[in-house]
Symmetry: C2
Subunit: 401 residues, 2 copies
């Protein structure tokens, strides 16, 4: 459909992604391309706005050489994070900087038509408010609160998403937003990616744990999401807690992490103890109001989570365990309980350099991860960035025919 | 030192690795190279024996086009698997087929000088017995029974390898064997790789579990070994067994998998019960002789291993759990106990397509994994394959200067 951009365009754009300024000569040397090829590509990228001139290089004499850098604001992407009762949307530039964001309360159980209408409207409004055409959006990364077949972007038997099983989310969003790349993934995977991309890019291995009504995790291994054979990797909620009582779980087993330390379980236990709480948010509010029983219950939940994470740390040997999700807003109690058990129970070699930290990206981890996934995809498929202004390489039609 | 082979040589060799016969025209098309470049590279590869002519292609008329294939026997690699009390060495061709192998009993605690002298002598003899010069060996993959810094190949504080901490194993073997690529890794990682490469190449995600005196695992994720941040990934031995008694472990914690289900622990428990056993091998012999208490003890160990693996399966979502190590020779008892708990305790999404199988590569998994690692490395660095007959690309000296 779109014409094919010259293959070197992608290489030049990848080089410029780090934001550094470079001369044509530097680009030619690093990319292993001729000066004339680089000059032609830079001209094309300047014309379509993806690259900008940024002043001259210092020179030992004569005219300073022109320098260029990626223009990260020339295109935008969006991240969408759908939870049981909310939709969060963010628009970022190609460097992942958030330009606009919005949180709306809506029920995922209203089904894909209603929810995706809302999401598309919200995104369209955000882009319009930025004074940009919708065509500037080169990709959307969407996180769903359930298992997703990553290749097709379809949810597969998601327990808390009635009406969504097998839905073509990619097609549905394209129908509403036009020709845009849509990537769909499990929400916790995108949170892990968002945390990695924005807060801890120097760590190749991290385990992001979301503690909310349930408990789940996303694994970053060698800088990429580890999804496993069926895409269900990271599913911690029904791992048995070592040393725990045989608390029955909705899954039919006993002693599952979620049945012991999920927000719903902690709220129920507090209620039994005469401290009424209906949700994770109630538990967090109680802790923030200084309720000692709630603080103790959250710390105990942290210990149970730590008992499972200790095994995960021995198995995966990450550089960091990042704790996010709504329960992490209960202050230091949750992470203190986790640290207590992880550091005493994992192998010294695995914990020696291990950091156990509260999420830095916070509630925006998911949308930032979605945006990051869309950016990665766009740079891997530069035709998305170049769009209708596609620059055709000489002979490329023949090469790809 | 060696001259630089033309970059297209590596591409052509990679293409031919699958063993299929191809014409020059097919190679040119698939590699995206000109017919004349391919013709020149094929002539060079024929001259140094890495490629062989294999008869003509069918043709609709005229002279059939010549076809070529990799000559897998033109070079060899070696795999070395060192255990607490043994050294196993195998020589394979470039397709990973074992040409010669040997098992020798020796103590790793004799230290690197004694052990590596033995290994080098064993390998030299095997290659000589094949009637080949040592120079035909393009790589050696070595597995050590302890933590290894994969980048340097040095063991790091290995508990059962006195005298080996920080040893330059790569340098020591090169000193004995001449200029050859040496790759050193943890033994269980190489077993996982060997099982994957030789028995289950179609599975991108597998967890190989070695059950012997201790318990360890190697993780294959997306077809590659997952090592983690410090290279200690897969270390299952000191994960707490859910539901187990607080059995004290040598590590200072209680309820560790190794203290409950390792071969040494099972032997000790049987001895307490009046069935004398000093080692995993004694336990296996008892089971094979039909001792019911030994069979029950092995099955119970399997259940404990299964309780830990259930969590690993939920976390990693592999396609297969492969059980190897000396305890796996005790027949179906071990794997039956593992299956019992893994299938009832892991998430349905993670177990639906999960296979839990006894190692197919068996005791040779480690040497085959070592050989495979050496082959991968050689194809990634084709200068190793081309050796002193290196074919210099026009202008390549300048390009790499």
């Amino acid at each position: 459909m779109a014409s094919v951009p010259a293959p070197e365009l992608g290489a030049v754009l990848q080089l410029l992604r780090d934001g550094r300024y470079r001369t044509r000569a530097e680009l030619a040397r690093t990319a292993g391309l001729s000066r004339s090829t680089i000059a032609a590509r830079i001209d094309e990228l300047l014309r379509i706005g993806l690259v900008a001139p940024v002043g001259g290089a210092e020179s030992t004499g004569g005219r300073p050489a022109a320098m260029f850098a990626l223009a990260p604001g020339s295109r935008v992407v969006a991240g969408v994070d759908l939870g049981a009762t909310h939709a969060r949307v963010a628009v970022t530039d190609l460097a992942g900087r958030e330009l606009a964001g919005e949180l709306e309360l809506l029920r995922i159980s209203d089904g894909p038509d209603v929810v995706l209408d809302h999401v598309a409207a919200l995104l369209t409004q955000l882009v319009a408010d930025l004074g940009r055409p919708l065509g500037d959006v080169v990709g959307v990364g969407v996180g769903l609160p359930g298992p997703v077949d990553h290749r097709t972007g379809r949810p597969t038997k998601p327990p808390i998403m009635p009406g969504w099983d097998g839905t073509d989310v990619v097609g549905a969003l394209r129908h509403r937003l036009g020709r845009v790349a849509v990537l769909v993934d499990n929400d916790v995977n995108l949170m892990a990616l968002g945390e990695h991309a924005t807060a801890l890019p120097e760590l190749d291995h991290l385990l992001y744990v979301k503690v909310a009504t349930g408990v789940g995790s996303g694994i970053v291994a060698d800088g990429r999401i580890h999804r496993g054979a069926q895409g269900s990797a990271g599913d911690l909620g029904h791992i048995a807690v070592p040393g725990a009582d045989a608390v029955p779980c909705t899954c039919g087993n006993t002693g599952c992490l979620e049945a012991i330390a999920g927000g719903a379980a902690v709220a129920a236990r507090l209620t039994e103890q005469g401290v009424p709480a209906r949700s994770t948010n109630d538990v967090v509010d109680l802790v923030r109001q200084g309720d000692l029983r709630a603080a103790a219950a959250v710390r105990e939940a942290g210990r149970s989570i730590g008992a499972v994470l200790a095994g995960c740390v021995s198995l995966l040997n990450p550089s960091a365990v990042v704790v996010g999700g709504s329960m992490s807003r209960a202050g230091e109690h949750l992470i203190a309980g986790i640290r207590e058990v992880v550091y005493s129970r994992s192998l010294p070699l695995a914990t020696q350099h291990l950091r156990v930290v509260t999420s830095i990206a916070g509630p925006r981890a998911g949308v930032l991860g979605g945006a990051h996934a869309a950016i990665e995809h766009a740079f891997a498929e530069p035709a998305l960035l170049v769009g209708d202004d596609a620059v055709t390489a000489p002979g490329s039609a023949a090469a790809t025919a």
